[in-house]
């Protein structure tokens, strides 16, 4: 039975609400786990919520022009757009979002879209650090997009489709059908790109507070910052769900989804706690080196 469009929008909003809260709790719990690794107590798990309420409750806010306001809006649209075209739970009516309306290329576009919008907005902030931060962010992003795109091409060749739901469907029936088992090289390339995408150590220099102060959002404050913080949770959740769908067999219920995405995100903590930060030029050279070669190899293997 075909669901009405209003019902589907309602379902998508519920799904968005769930992924926002999940993303926030995930950021909070990972900060807590990192703190434990460093021998600290760490911030409460719900700290991201308090930070967002605090930012929204600021009494005044300043603007630097229309594009400055649109920057976070674009960023949020990028996050929500990425999530809306990925099925969060395979076979679920509630969590399938609008995955039948868009494919992998659209999702990849949305991943880049937010950053571009942010670049326009942050540059209008007029602060030199924003502009430098954005240029560094975009260069690093362009670099990690290469192995990620190669890995996506390998997956598309392997399953002969760009439809995410079809890719998940092809991986059903046990671990040996997952991409991680059938094309491990593509997964390795994609996971290395994932480290860059989630901006954790060793690729955290773009938004590192000790560097060019906090990078692109230098001038963003109050409710605009609240929007960026909310988007971070949504975007994290969307990326994790995308990775789970493409490489780890998707999920048929919400518990599997939570377990798998938590474990994928945990890779960041493992790597981030063990390696120091790369400079931008180092990280670009890194991404264009071995990970790109692994990506090319995965495409060749998928093609022959």
């Amino acid at each position: 039975m075909e669901t009405g469009i209003l019902t589907r929008i309602g379902y998508a909003l519920v799904s968005l609400f769930v992924i926002t809260n999940y993303g926030l709790l995930l950021i909070g719990s990972m900060a807590r786990i990192s703190a434990k690794v460093q021998g600290r107590v760490g911030q409460p798990v719900w700290q991201p919520y308090i930070d967002i309420v605090k930012s929204t409750a600021k009494r005044n806010s300043i603007g630097h022009g229309i594009m400055f306001y649109l920057g976070p809006v674009f960023r949020l649209a990028g996050g929500v757009g990425t999530y809306m075209f990925i099925p969060a739970v395979y076979g679920s009516v509630l969590f399938r979002n609008f995955s039948d309306s868009g494919d992998l290329l659209l999702v990849m576009y949305f991943i880049f879209f937010g950053q571009l919008g942010m670049a326009l907005g942050a540059s209008e902030g007029g602060h030199p650090y924003s502009a430098i931060g954005v240029s560094r962010g975009l260069s690093q992003m362009t670099a990690f997009e290469v192995p990620f795109a190669l890995s996506v091409i390998a997956v598309a060749i392997q399953y002969r489709t760009l439809d995410i739901t079809a890719i998940v469907a092809a991986q059903q029936g046990g671990f040996w059908n997952w991409t991680v088992a059938t094309n491990p090289l593509a997964v390795v390339a994609a996971l290395i790109a994932f480290l860059g995408m989630s901006m954790h150590n060793p690729f955290s220099i773009v938004i590192a507070p000790q560097e060019i102060p906090i990078g692109p959002p230098t001038e963003y404050q109050s409710n605009l910052l609240g929007m960026l913080q909310t988007n971070r949770a949504i975007f994290n959740g969307a990326k994790l769900v995308l990775y789970m769908n493409l490489y780890f067999g998707g999920a048929t219920d919400i518990v599997t989804m939570v377990v798998k995405t938590f474990l994928i995100y945990f890779i960041n903590v493992f790597v981030g706690q063990a390696f120091p930060r790369f400079r931008v030029d180092q990280s670009i050279r890194f991404f264009l080196g071995v990970p790109t070669l692994i990506g090319i190899a995965s495409v060749i293997i998928a093609a022959i």
Partner: protein, 209 residues
Amino acid sequence: MSDKKGKPVPLANEGLPAGERGLFCDAPPREYAPAAKIVEDFWNWARSQSLWILGFGTGCGAIELRPLMTSRYDMYRFGIQPRPTPRQSSVFVIGGYASVKTLKRIVRSYEQMMGPKFVVALGSCTINGGMYWDSYNTIKRIDQYIPVDVYIAGCMPRPEALLAGFQELKRIIRAGKAEGQNEYARNFEWYKANQKRVIKDWNMPDYNW
């Protein structure tokens, strides 16, 4: 200190060249009324649980801020974290003595912070000048130049004292008494007069947010 009732003077921003006028605010700060009690109480709770420190070490006392981030003192568990830009931070920690040159930067940074903003003054030097009481280029009482919420006495106060000070700040915020932003706006001319009395080379806008 008696010129609180002086009539409004035009902001010195008017002297700026036309090309730079757009870069700075040309209106004095205004007071913001708190929201309804129950909402404001909730917001104050959130503000007290998420204190973002402006990472600007203004004096030797800033050295005591660093240990707070380490595993031994771990300020993150109280919801306190450093923030590199004044736009996003809510707490300004004056780290000890403030020279006149630094006061300029303190004033500019303070004005760029978004309200509600809180100031924690650290060490004896911020209270009465401390060991620099007769120095020609340091100021003696920081609260004549920007409103202060909490003083932490000592030379130097240890990180534990700082944590205790932050707990006190949280109590003040939750009680709704940390209205430094409004106080600054209400007594703007008095604060400006005091600032201009010590800062002789006033080559910046009167108010910049």
